[in-house]
């Protein structure tokens, strides 16, 4: 029983990271109807920025805030420079753009910081949480940071005018323009926020997986799995999906013989396929109906 509880709690902790990545993916998907394959690399690059700042002597939370700001601006810049010009381009052109962005960021990170793994500090320590062996303080911290983030986002989208405008621009762009919303900037803002959310995921998971240019690959696939499971049109679904995938991953790895660590990633991919076949809209998503 203790093993089970332990695995579930650990699953919730990594699930929190998947939830953040899924949320970032869903935010961009809502705005431009494309999956951002480079979301993980953007988060990885941000995490390197945080690491570099700390190497230069900036304290952890200072580096954390500066990285958030950097990621937000960089996300907007990527949208303005690369994806705004592609807004009316066919889907494959956009996919090529995302893959190019993935490769560019990955290579640049390797060029600047090389491919050897680096230690990334945790601000929460890694002792047992509240004296319990079930979960470490860093894992508890990961869950806590994610929950705070989710609450802030909820209030932002529910109760602020700019949040309302962003939702309107994503849901019905033409109607949004007709009430005077600059939808183009709302999309850019969505990119900025998605990049910042991704950077939080990167900084939280880096102490666990170690910092190196390919560290987010697996995390992003779990994030995609979470987003698909929850429904690509639902931010809440993305979050719930994130936690479910985290728990599922751990339980399958623990209890199904032969899965272990090696087969965990294929299981996430299998999960994507199963959801797409059985319930394409995901748990919370709305089915997409196109009128012709």
């Amino acid at each position: 029983m203790e093993l089970f509880t332990n695995q579930v709690l650990a699953g919730i902790a990594t699930g929190a990271i998947y939830a953040c990545m899924a949320l970032a993916v869903v935010m961009i998907y809502q705005a431009i109807d494309h999956l951002n394959f480079a979301q993980g690399e953007m988060a990885m690059f941000s995490t390197f920025i945080a690491w570099q700042l700390m190497q230069w002597g900036v304290p952890y939370w200072g580096a954390f805030v500066l990285t958030l700001a950097f990621s937000f601006v960089a996300g907007i810049a990527i949208e303005r420079l690369l994806f705004k010009p592609l807004a009316k381009a066919p889907i494959l052109t956009n996919v090529a753009g995302f893959i190019a962005l993935y490769a560019i960021i990955n290579s640049f990170a390797g060029l600047i910081w090389d491919f050897t793994i680096k230690q990334f500090p945790t601000p929460f320590g890694s002792s047992p949480f509240l004296g319990s062996q079930l979960i470490s303080t860093h894992q508890a911290g990961m869950i806590g940071v994610t929950l705070v983030l989710l609450i802030l986002l909820f209030f932002f989208f529910r109760f602020t005018r700019i949040g309302l405008a962003m939702r309107a621009a994503a849901a019905m762009p033409e109607s949004a323009r007709l009430v005077g919303i600059n939808t183009s900037w709302m999309i850019a803002l969505g990119w900025g926020m998605a990049a910042a959310i991704g950077s939080i995921a990167g900084m939280m998971i880096a102490p666990v997986v170690f910092l190196e240019p390919n560290m987010m690959l697996g995390v992003l696939i779990y994030g995609f799995a979470a987003a698909v499971l929850g429904g690509l049109t639902s931010p809440l679904g993305a979050v719930v999906g994130g936690f479910l995938v985290g728990i599922f991953e751990n339980l399958v790895g623990t209890y199904i013989p032969g899965v272990g660590n090696e087969l965990k990633l294929p299981i996430a991919l299998a999960l994507i396929i199963v959801v797409l076949v059985v319930k394409p809209a995901g748990l919370f998503g709305r089915p997409i109906v196109k009128r012709v």
Partner: protein, 237 residues
């Protein structure tokens, strides 16, 4: 009277297809004008061209300023509210959020709150349903909401694209009565595009008739209503 909106030589295109062929008309401040025409005559295109939602050439002046080269959202910010065909309702959001979105460009939060109350006075059914998802409203209620949302901008000019479409006759009467009231009391200049010529001519004080992208007739609503050709083509008697 000065012209609030002055449209000259307006030509609009969908790809290679030209939909408007040199349209000319003007709206006087405070007027309620209707643009009549059959399906495909270019009524909707005219409204879309005013808001720069379709590629067009020619000159459109609003209160002396040219609208050409402005984005849709900037044109709206000048005080031109457009209720599009299909109503443009934010279906996944609540009625009240729809009204707030109508006022999204305004900065006076106290004024917005009191305007929402004013809309609930105009359209009591919206108050009953203010927490409901807008997509669950009936067609008539959604049209009320669309008009209310447009008014939340405190527009100087309101463009309505076939507000009667798909509504029961009684509801259309009600809606048109409210539009007349808004025109008189709130001093909003209104341009309404309609296929329901009879009602539109009762409501309007000026009318234009559009055929295949050209204005073929203009005059006071009375003159147009009594015109032999119009009666045959659009009023059916």
């Amino acid at each position: 009277m000065t012209a609030m909106l002055n449209v000259k030589d307006l030509r609009a295109y969908y790809g290679q297809v030209q939909a408007l062929h040199g349209l000319e008309f003007r709206l006087n401040e405070g007027s309620l004008t209707t643009l009549l025409g059959a399906n495909g005559a270019g009524k909707t295109t005219t409204l879309r061209a005013i808001c720069n939602m379709v590629r067009s050439t020619g000159s459109i002046e609003f209160e002396g300023a040219s609208l050409s080269g402005r984005s849709t959202e900037n044109i709206v910010r000048l005080g031109i509210a457009h209720v599009p065909q299909g109503r443009g309702t934010f279906t996944t959001m609540t009625v009240e959020e729809n009204l707030q979105l109508g006022a999204i460009t305004r900065k006076d939060s106290a004024g917005i709150v009191s305007d929402i109350e004013r809309m609930y006075d105009h359209f009591p059914v919206l108050k009953q349903r203010h927490t409901q998802q807008a997509g669950t409203l009936s067609g008539g209620e959604q049209q009320m909401l669309a008009v209310a949302r447009a008014l939340m901008l405190r527009p100087r000019l309101m463009l309505l694209d076939e507000p009667s479409f798909g509504l029961a006759p009684l509801i259309v009467r009600d809606l048109f009565r409210i539009l007349g009231k808004i025109n008189r009391e709130d001093k909003v200049t209104i341009l309404v595009v309609e296929q329901n010529a009879q009602l539109a001519l009762e409501l309007a004080d000026k009318a234009y008739v559009i055929e295949t992208g050209r204005i073929v007739m203009s005059g006071s609503a009375n003159e147009i209503a009594n015109n032999e050709d119009v009666r045959k083509s659009y009023l059916g008697y």
